[in-house]
């Protein structure tokens, strides 16, 4: 399954890069969501994938029975998902507020911080 996951991740990354290079900020946001999904899958697959054996210690035993899924990447991915959501929400708020102020979603026109005539301002 790792090989198939690698292919899927490649597609997700390619799609997110393409979207993040778009001028429309909403597309950028979609790219960000896909990218965080891809990153989670990379971490998950790097710890190897085990089918149908959750990392639980059965009642009455001291260690898991047989080979179980690798718990460490799962723990990392679990927090990464929640943090990714926080990041997404923040970016979305940023996008919304930007649109409310500038009335545009075109990132080429969002130049409040680095205006085109910056040279005159830098004096």
């Amino acid at each position: 399954m790792e090989a198939l996951t690698a292919l899927v991740v490649g597609l997700l990354v390619a799609a997110s890069v393409y979207l993040m290079l778009a001028r429309n900020f909403m597309r950028f946001l979609f790219g960000l969501i896909l990218l965080s999904n891809a990153a989670n899958l990379v971490i998950f697959a790097s710890g190897r994938m085990t089918k149908g054996a959750p990392a639980l210690v059965p009642y009455g035993a001291d260690t898991p029975a047989g080979v179980v899924g690798n718990a460490l990447p799962q723990a990392l991915v679990l927090t990464a998902i929640v943090i990714g959501f926080g990041l997404l929400a923040f970016t979305l708020a940023l996008a919304f507020e930007t649109y409310r102020r500038l009335r545009t979603m075109d990132t080429d026109k969002m130049r409040v911080a680095e205006p085109k005539d910056a040279d005159e301002d830098m004096k």
């Binding site: 929640v82 959501f85 929400a89 708020a93 919304f96």
Partner: protein
Amino acid sequence: MNSIIFTAGARILVALLFVFSLFMLLRGHHLPGGGFIGGLLGAVAFIVYSLACGPAEAKSALRVSPEGIAIVGLGIALVAGLVSFLFGDPFFTGQWYWVGGDSYETSLFSLNTVLVFDIGVYLVVLGSILSLAYAFEEET
């Protein structure tokens, strides 16, 4: 979403979801669940409620501000870590107290900082996501 059925159903659904979220929190140490999942479920419960009845009513049903919940949660998590200093252990070492015995097998139940920390996580996730969701609903 002014459907009467949805509004009426939502109240029951919310209560169920919320209790379920606490259940997921508490069983997390031994079975799938835990603070993150519990917190997310709790947040979903209140978001459903606010979709049904509007953010204002959902907020008043919560009684305290979601940001406050999140901050308190972070504080609880921190305290759970600080407790280990009292016992001379490194920061965030889990501390266990067996009620009615001296080990897992002999005791009735345990008091431990690990669960306290997980409760902190629950509150942080719940509070953060609710404050986000309400802000989006009110401002957009």
